[in-house]
Amino acid sequence: MSMKSEHRCLRIRGGRLLDPATGTDRIGDLCIAEGRIIALGETPSDFTADETIDANGLWVCPGLIDLSNRVREPGEEHKGTIASETRAAASGGVTTLVVPPDTVPPIDNPSVVELIRDRAKDSSHSWVLTLGAMTVGLQGQQLTEMGALRREGVVGVSNGLEGIRDTRVLRRALEYAATQELPVFIQPQDAWLSEGGCAHEGAVATRLGLPGIPSAAEAAEVSRVLALIRLTHARVHFCRLSNHRALSLVAEAIQQGLPVTCDVAAHQLYLTEMDLSDYNPNVHLQPPLRTQRDLQALRTGLGNGTVSAICSDHQPHDLDAKSAPFMETEAGASTVETLLPLVLRLAEEGELSLLDALACVTQNPAQILGLEESGSLAPGHRADVILVDPEAWWTVNTDQLLSEGKNSPFLGWELKGRVRRTLLAGRTLYELI
């Protein structure tokens, strides 16, 4: 955002070009001029590169678009800052990230949007987009000035984890968002059924004595919102589905032609309630990790296209926030740096083709957000590009994570695939040394 577009001409030579939006999977060149992609595949005969990057053996992909990433600024800079978290994002290949409205103060008026944009201008390593709050203070009562928020540049509205309890207010908020042509991002969880819970209500929570959140909390909220979508015709994106029943409700709605989409967090595709069995605070998450059956349903949902995006749901925490008995720790995990390898692993495990897996973090989130300049390597797009070494193995450990939050649920995991270089509008903002 600080970066002015790069005027020089750049040629990325001989990499495997992977671009879901154009269906490209071939060895070739990518040419960039003035921060934009001008050729995908062959270098035009009249193109003179100021710099050539050899991408032999590497994958060249659009930068990742992360639909939920808490940078903790403003208000919780002890957990992370725009500078630290976008740097972590860039190292993980994320070039665009969306900040949910539950900052401190929340993004419920244009000045907070402006503040985030200003700070990002000075320090950001990726494009920082914002979601506005639907209600003042996320309190679920009074509507925010969504028109002003839209003019200030929010890409959608949401009420964060809190949701809106009052169904009439929720109805009005959906109608008003539709009036402003803003997509609504809903993390579905019935507030009453989930109150006080910190784990999936099931066998593991019962054994560990942890207050549970039933799967029905998610399904009930999806049902309520779907009924209101039919009433209001609002465009709704369901965030972080965790449960197979909620997913099948969304799948049914999509089949009926309702304007809904949904995403999952990458960790929900790899971890289950069983991972709680030693009270590891890094797997204290909202929504909670659910069962093997849910995990498989989410993967199947990705395969059949019901789930169109995978996000990191990155939530960095300071050490104190996680130094307590499990149920007294703050929920959330630091996950932006493991997003790409986990997405690539889905392809390796045969759940999705490589291009379809990449689409869930590039083309599809761009579509959900209505971004026309990013999410693809097609000529004309902004040159947000990553170079990935697909064979590089690395072990997740706290020393290595660039995020201020060391609360990764994948500490000790061996992951394959590492970002070698991240370009933002043609400029290299991260390089693995």
């Binding site: 019962t206 054994r207 560990l208 942890l210 207050p211 069995s277 030693d278 307590a324």
Partner: protein
Amino acid sequence: MSRSLQLDEHGQLRHFLSIEGLKRPLLEHILDSAEAFTSVGNQQVKKVPLLRGRTIANLFFEPSTRTRTTFELAEKRLSADVLNLNISASAAKKGESLLDTLQNLVAMQIDMFVVRHAASGAPHYIAQAMPDHISVINAGDGQHEHPTQAMLDMFTIRKTKGAFEPLKVAIIGDILHSRVARSQIHALSILGCQDIRVIAPRTLTPAHLADMGVHSYARIEEGIEDADVIIVLRLQKERMTGAFLPSEHEYFQDFGLTPERLRLAAPNAIVMHPGPMNRGVEIESCVADSDRSVILQQVTNGIAVRMAILAMCMSRGGMDAEAAT
């Protein structure tokens, strides 16, 4: 619960955090060892020098009378130096963090912590955070486990009923919120009990309880039939506000242990209660005071059982009761 945290490399108890994850021989060793310690309480000089010079801190983040006093007696009868700290949750919130409190005590060269805490998993967290030489005993954590209570209940059952295999054991009450019930269920099944039943309204029965190897009953008359052991749990008053139950009166009507219902159990069935009792809510007074009740024996046995567990954790492969008495 991870076994490696509770046991050292020789399979000896380092910490006593949960019944889950322990093996039958170890539980039986605790019961046998407690047997030897019962004689200490019957002597005129109720003291053995087993833990002389050791310092034990009883850290109670939640109020307790019975558990704390029986722990204290057990510690004193083992000749340990005892420090009692009652830290109410609200004070803990205002002041220093849990870890800071503990690190200060470690700096005071405490050898063992006996911990009660409202958060499930708190003793587990503390055990992980402590230096190697310190032992942690769980005196009840949230809705997770209360392992010493379960062991004293097993001791009481074994003493009155003998082998666990043929027994039918019914646990009546608020299973959802009960750490005692969870520990009892684990202990009974590890010790070979084949027929464990829980009797509770659906609102107080946790999800997937059957995975723990128990049968659930919503009608007391069915669940209590032919039971050899009946364990009645305390019903907390706050259950009336969380929409778990309409009233104490209706609970007693449907789930209270009355002499009529006790008659459906096996002829010599014993009645247990971990205390404190609500007479007229979960149990009728005449049942609590009858000769079938072993409720006060449970309290007495609690001291010997806790002595056994404290001694095992502190000796780590060294002495036990036989050596001391």
